[in-house]
């Protein structure tokens, strides 16, 4: 394997390939940073360009762009509460409060460090363990996916920042949104009112962009004094040893969660980011600080989404099965280039695969080198009056949401959720619980029903399989603890009084 990798490295640093990698990082960086452009879109747009290229270069370009977009999506999440890519949605939650506190530089520094480490950990796993991870992923069937989603959902109590009832309303509302559209198991249409647009379902991207980005633009527009733009200077410090001490545990755990979840077919980095965020909140000693600008709240999603993006390549290279939306497009690109993606790809076209792996390692380092000048450039945006930036954000969000499925319906949906988010924010509603529901809802529902299809309606399928039984037991313990803890605390209080 090592000589394969060395061979790959030699290929990757050939001048023509290296230039492509540099180019890919620049394109990916810009594309990811603009709220309208996501990795999927860039890859689709560049697909025809790659047909004219030699296969190795083509895949280096596509995978490198993919890696770089996931990285730079956090910039606008942190600076403007407008996620640059769906993968960096969760970063908004703690990144933006830091910017509001005047700590944008610190937030970006944490983001860069977490992303790069996540990306490198992910790539190392990809290089060393692709076949192993793929065979573990095959052990995951419907009951395991369901248990995973349930475990994610049980974190709602800790994400509600003390407003339990609102938190439950939020997560149930998210779950309800996820049921709208065509039912994946029977094909029945639900809550569609006969419209084929609604039959396509409510995607999480328009909802999330509306709730966070658009609502914030509305919010800023109502504050007349604050439109001038932020003139205070900030410094980005990528490695800060005091911060690093705080985040290193989160960093290690989230990178591993990211690779693991990312490598499950059909789950992908967006879910990896939100699951790792919720686990971080759950295991934190003071969960109430999240959502108010905790550096760990940036580390968790950023390391997990970058690790997850690499993880999503595992089933693609090992089995020919895409792990996320972008990798699904890449699968198409493989076919167009005459490669046969599948279990034999690593043996038949090993030189290409290892060149791509080596390229990804280089990309993660390039990203680290480029990030500072790039972000300083982007941070200049903060000096531009918000009266100009705000409308631009709205325009980019509209373009991005439209391009997702070429749908105006999604744009209206995004606007609607923008207004909803604006009012919910006034009530200090824990918006993230809605995101939790809508991202995990489809996974939970369809996998639950698929499990029952597989077992002939027998519920014991969830407890007779070791992985799902373990995950579900943890979930039950978590929920019980969340209910019991306030009661115990109360008793203790009355005792001491």
């Amino acid at each position: 394997m090592l000589d394969n990798l060395l061979g790959g490295l030699m290929t990757a640093i050939e001048p023509s390939h290296f230039i492509i990698l540099l180019l890919a990082v620049v394109i990916g960086f810009l594309g990811g940073a603009l709220p309208g452009l996501s990795g999927v879109m860039l890859v689709v747009v560049l697909l025809p360009v790659t047909y004219g290229m030699e296969t190795t270069s083509a895949f280096m370009l596509l995978t490198a762009i993919y890696g770089a977009t996931v990285f730079s999506g956090m910039i606008t999440s942190i600076l403007y509460r407008a996620p640059g890519t769906p993968e960096s949605v969760t970063t908004v939650y703690d990144g933006y409060p830091m910017t509001q506190r005047g700590e944008a530089g610190k937030a970006l520094g944490v983001g860069i460090l977490s992303s790069t480490i996540g990306g490198i950990v992910g790539t190392i796993f990809l290089i060393a363990l692709t076949p192993t991870l793929a065979s573990i992923a095959l052990q995951f069937a419907a009951p395991e996916y369901f248990a995973l989603a349930v475990l994610g959902l049980t974190v709602v109590a800790s994400l509600s920042s003390g407003k339990l009832i609102m938190g439950f309303i939020g997560v149930l509302f998210g779950l309800f949104l996820a049921t709208i559209g065509t039912d994946t198991i029977t094909g029945t249409q639900r809550f569609t009112f006969g419209s084929s647009e609604i039959a396509g379902g409510i995607e999480h991207v328009p909802v999330i962009i509306g709730l966070f980005a658009i609502s914030e633009v509305l919010n800023r527009a109502t504050e007349t004094q604050n439109l001038k733009g932020n003139v205070e200077k900030f410094k980005i410090k990528i490695f800060d040893s005091t911060v690093f001490k705080k985040i290193r545990g989160t960093l290690a755990r989230s990178s591993l969660i990211g690779v693991g979840i990312g490598s499950l077919p059909g789950v992908g980095p967006t879910t990896a980011a939100i699951l790792s965020y919720s686990e971080t909140v759950r295991w934190s000693k003071n969960p109430q600080k999240f959502g108010k600008g905790a550096p760990e709240g940036i580390t968790a999603p950023e390391s997990a989404n970058n690790a997850g993006a690499m993880g999503a390549l595992v089933p693609l290279f090992a089995l020919g099965i895409p792990g996320s939306a972008t990798t699904a497009v890449m699968l198409g690109a493989f076919v167009m280039h005459g490669l046969q993606p599948g279990p034999n790809l690593m043996t038949t076209d090993g030189d290409i695969v290892y060149a791509v792996f080596a390229g990804l390692l280089i990309v993660n380092l390039l990203v680290l080198i480029f990030s500072k000048p790039f972000i300083i450039m982007f941070s200049k945006l903060l000096n531009i009056p918000y009266s100009i930036i705000g409308p631009l954000i709205v325009i980019f969000c509209m373009i991005g949401t439209f391009a997702l499925r070429n749908s105006m319906f999604d744009v209206f949906l995004m606007m609607g959720f923008g207004v909803l988010g604006f009012f919910l924010e006034k009530l200090r509603f824990p918006l993230i619980t809605i995101v939790l529901g809508i991202v995990l809802g489809p996974l939970a529902e369809s996998e639950f029903r698929r499990s029952l299809e597989l077992s002939g309606g027998d519920l014991s399928i969830f407890v007779s399989r070791p992985i799902s039984a373990t995950l579900l037991t943890i979930s039950v313990i978590m929920v019980t603890l969340a209910i019991i803890k306030p009661i115990i605390d109360k008793k203790r209080k009355t005792h001491t009084n």
Binding site: V40, V44, L47, P48, A137, L138, Q139, F140, A141, A142, G181, T182, D183, T184, I185, T186, G187, Q189, S196, E197, A199, G200, G201, P265, G266, P315, L319, G320, I321, P322, A328, V329, M330, L331, G332, A333, V335, M336, G338, Q340, P341, G342, P343, N344, R405, N406, S407, S446, R450, E453, L454, G456
Partner: protein
């Protein structure tokens, strides 16, 4: 000032002229007069999308215009069908579809049917097959014996899909009652479930299995076709070996608005036929294992086929 005014009138005059030009281009000689919107009722990266992108360049060269591919995957392509039916009937909006179109129409999930859309040509007929994990079953007979004694789960991509129709046909014709259909969200997921031993078999197109046959992870044990395939002559065929009338696969073709003038329809059909016969297309077919069965059907043949399929699928869905 005067100059400005005359410039404005000149420009507005030109605009009016340009507008006139557009209205008189109904005839086929001038077709196409603008970019062609190619709507794909499926997401990027899948079989129908690959089909669109494999023909895009030739279509653009032969029609001498730009082709703009738009993926409208919502509701199994219903949105793409609806948009085609709502476009101007001038051949500038063409809709690439798979059998999902007629299945979802027969199931009443997609209201845009053959009264609103006209087939231009069918170009692919991807063969369906029953695929198993070779560690579990060596051949179809083993599977059948097992299925007669035990409950078996057979997967497929999506509910109310060509895969599910193939499953229902197999269930009806073979009289194996213990089979239960489990829909998955995409082909990769269903393949992973069979490879991981979490599903007994799946029904799916043969073009997606070849690579897994070589590696020994998956094996088709029954092909849904008239005869055995030359390339896989050891695998039994539904009609030849069992006398079961199951031959439908996943068929991909092109539709336009039903009111499209016949001259434009003809021209499009001819262009698609030229593409179909080209070496470039043949190479793509072979690379993607789409060449086992002749894909071509003219506008009329395809229309008739779709009408028959509609009846058959409706009956299958009612009796399930």
């Amino acid at each position: 000032m005067k100059l400005k005014k005359s410039l404005i009138s000149l420009v507005s005059g030109l605009i009016v002229l340009a507008g006139c030009g557009d209205e008189t281009t109904d005839s086929a000689e001038e077709y196409p007069t603008e970019n062609i919107d190619l709507l794909v009722g499926a997401g990027p990266g899948g079989g129908t999308d690959n089909f669109a992108r494999a023909t895009e360049d030739q279509l653009s060269d032969k029609l001498e215009t730009n082709i703009v591919i738009e993926n409208l995957e919502q509701a199994s392509g219903a949105v793409a069908n609806e948009e085609t039916a709502n476009s101007a009937p001038d051949g500038h909006t063409i809709n690439y579809v798979s059998s999902t179109f007629i299945v979802s129409n027969a199931a009443g999930q997609n209201d845009t049917g053959l009264d609103e859309l006209t087939p231009v040509a069918r170009m692919q007929s991807d063969i369906l097959s029953l695929v198993v994990n070779p560690d579990e079953f060596d051949n179809f007979e083993e599977f059948r014996e097992y299925a007669e004694a035990n409950e078996v789960n057979v997967g497929g991509t999506h509910a109310v899909s060509p895969d599910e129709m193939g499953f229902l046909e197999l269930q009806n014709e073979s009289d194996i009652d213990n089979m239960n259909y489990v829909p998955y969200d995409d082909t990769g997921e269903v393949q992973a479930a069979v490879m991981g031993g979490n599903l007994d078999a799946y029904v799916g197109v043969i073009s997606a299995v070849e690579e897994y046959m070589e590696s020994g992870d998956l094996e088709p044990v029954l092909v849904f076709s008239e005869e055995r395939l030359d390339e896989m002559s050891d695998i039994p065929a539904t009609v030849e070996d069992y006398g079961w009338d199951i031959t439908n696969g996943n068929e991909r073709g092109v539709l336009v608005h039903a009111d499209t003038p016949p001259e434009i329809l003809d021209e499009l059909e001819n262009v698609l036929n030229e593409i179909f016969e080209s070496d470039e297309y043949k190479e793509y077919e072979e690379q993607n294992s789409l060449h086992y069965r002749d894909g071509w059907m003219s506008s009329e043949e395809y229309e008739q086929k779709l009408e028959e399929d509609y009846e058959m699928y409706q009956e299958l869905l009612e009796n399930q």
